[in-house]
Amino acid sequence: MPDQPTPRGIDPRGPRFAASVTTVLLAVAVVLSLTGVSTAQAGAGFGWFAYQPLANATFVPGTDFAFVAGQGWAISYVTPLQRALDPGFLLLLVVAALFLWSVLSPRTAPWGALFRRFIQPRLAPPSELEDPRPPRFAQGVGLFVVTIGLVLHLVGVPWALPIAAAAAFVAAFLNAVFGLCLGCQLYLLLQRAGLIGRQRPAAT
């Protein structure tokens, strides 16, 4: 039996709608990250000026060994501020902020609010309500994955951004289209890894 009372149920179509919007945002983020500084090369054949946004950028000292060797990633040659101004980074930052909002305050989060205000009144009442905790957990997983990508990108790891965006995209897509329950598949694995769900003292 559950230790705590189950929270009031929500219309299950709300989180599905939110996942659909998130899927689209992440698809755009994947494309933007792939065309941005995260994947750009600084090959000797072209010189790093070939990556146009860098053409006027300042060379960051301490990374010249890669340049001399003839191979390198453009991301190593830009300042963290320039990395942060990458369009893929900015969009992914927005997505992370939305995930954070959904975790902290699910009732006020934008896509759910949009759904309740404009879409739900046009639909028949839901056949059943669902526990809000599983979708909230899924938002937390998305936040975690995207944040890792953002941080790695800021410290100059190439390809971190598109890979994180792609991982989050797959999860959001599977949820929106196939109704995959991330909490169903992931919670116990994370628990086994010791990351969540520690043992509580047995209730009397």
Binding site: L34, T35, F137, V170, F173, G183, L188, R192
Partner: protein, 145 residues
């Protein structure tokens, strides 16, 4: 990377995601017959006794959107038959139980016979027909014993 290549990469990602989705949907409700005759101690699950003829054990967590629906299905299947007990075990704060029973996803359903031996495991949402078939086997065997 050029925009064209990036869009092609996204298309590839989309195709891969669809394939993953179809594969996961296929594996839903897959039944696995238990090889060993491991017996489950009802006290571990917080129950005083097992069902007279069979027991349905469902492992759930609070993060499982599918579990309430499966709970309804399994408890109604148990109620339809004499001597079948339904147990729901919440693993949210019980990593020890999850480890003991090797539960990796929720819902996971165990079908036990009257002695507590595990006959089958079902991961994901069990199909109602499959469930009825298994329960009839379990309760039918006991009737002939």
């Amino acid at each position: 990377m050029t925009a064209t290549t990036a869009i092609l990469a996204l298309a590839g990602l989309l195709v891969a995601s669809v394939i993953v989705g179809l594969v996961l949907r296929r594996r839903q409700g897959r039944i696995r017959r238990a090889r060993t005759a491991e017996r489950v101690d009802p006290a571990l699950l917080g129950a005083t006794a097992l069902g007279e003829r069979a027991t349905l054990v469902q492992f759930s967590t609070e993060m499982c959107a599918r579990c309430p629906g499966v709970r309804r299905m399994l408890s109604s299947a148990a109620a339809d038959r004499d001597g079948v007990l339904y147990l729901d075990v919440d693993l949210t704060h019980r990593p020890d139980l999850a480890k003991t029973f090797h539960v990796l996803q929720t819902p996971t359903t165990l079908l036990l016979d009257q002695g507590g031996a595990v006959h089958a495991r079902i991961g994901g949402i069990p199909g109602r027909d499959l469930l009825d078939l298994e329960l009839d086997r379990l309760t039918g065997e006991n009737a002939h014993a």
